[in-house]
């Protein structure tokens, strides 16, 4: 008598992307008004919540280090060091805030099902973000020409570390926004699967809202 071989039933392969959960099995008492319950807090928001919590702690550490070094200095900015361009950076702050408004308008267009407006407004936000980076790069070139470098003591080191870290975040967010824009231009996000778009918008708003805090702490205070 041959041994009985029991094979495990084949497991369905997990597909990439969003897979909606199966509907509950229907019995004989179907409710015509039944709709599947939405999760209280969807995965995108939960993931971004914890990711941004880590980001907040990261920037809190940098700002705290900056303020400790600044408070320890007898004179700030140190003598014979260039002053930071407050007016140009103020204009740049307005540019970045406008990009956040454009992203919010793009999300409104998505809710209204207007794909063209969604693409247009995301493009506007990406352009404004790029303008912000270009102006900041121009500022940095000027400051280096005036002699403010990373090796110029705590003043230069903290400035380039703090502002450079934020600029790197804006650059990363801009790449993300550009990819999202390309997907939107191909007609994505209008079928209700908006997870990547919402995550990108949340991150962009975070990066934008962080900048006024840094502007006040580094340039104005």
């Amino acid at each position: 008598m041959s041994p009985l071989v029991v094979e495990a039933p084949p497991r369905p392969r997990r597909a990439n992307g969003h897979v909606p959960p199966p509907l509950p099995p229907t019995g004989g008492d179907d409710d015509p008004d039944f709709t599947p319950r939405r999760p209280r807090l969807d995965n995108v928001r939960l993931a971004m919540l914890f990711f941004l919590s880590a980001e907040v702690m990261f920037f809190a550490g940098l700002v705290s280090a900056f303020l400790v070094l600044r408070n320890a200095a007898p004179v700030w900015p140190p003598p014979f060091q260039p002053r930071l361009p407050v007016a140009v950076t103020g204009f740049n702050t307005a540019v970045l805030l406008a990009s956040s408004v454009a992203v919010a308008a793009a999300m409104r267009a998505r809710r209204g099902g207007d794909g063209a407006a969604l693409t247009r407004r995301l493009g506007l936000a990406a352009t404004l973000g790029a303008v912000f980076l270009v102006i900041q790069g121009y500022e940095w070139v000027r400051l280096v020409e005036f002699g403010l470098t990373v090796g110029s003591g705590a003043y230069g080191a903290t400035f380039y570390t703090l502002i450079g870290t934020h600029a790197a975040h804006v650059l990363g967010a801009l790449v993300w926004l550009t990819v999202t824009l390309a997907l939107a231009a191909r007609g994505r996000f209008l079928d209700g699967r908006t997870g990547p778009l919402r995550a990108c918008a949340i991150y962009w708003h975070f990066v934008v809202l962080l900048w006024p805090v840094l502007y006040v702490a580094v340039y104005l205070a």
Partner: protein
Amino acid sequence: MTAVRLALPLVLVAALLPGLAEACPTCLSSPYGDRSYTWAQVGLLLMPFLVAMVVGAILAWSFRWRPRLPSMVARVWNRTAHLKETT
């Protein structure tokens, strides 16, 4: 297992013993001789608690928890809602 049971209270006592807190080298070398905490340090110490509170508040709000309004505010709120319904 017995060693762990014995060691655990000792570790806890050692962790809870008060120690001498020294300021960081930056504060020690400050020209003003300021060796106390500054607002930057206190802010950084409090930041994890603030972040945890915000995360908790967002989770609580998502799970439909709402703070109970004071009775006077609730009365005004309900009256306003009633007016909205009838107009």
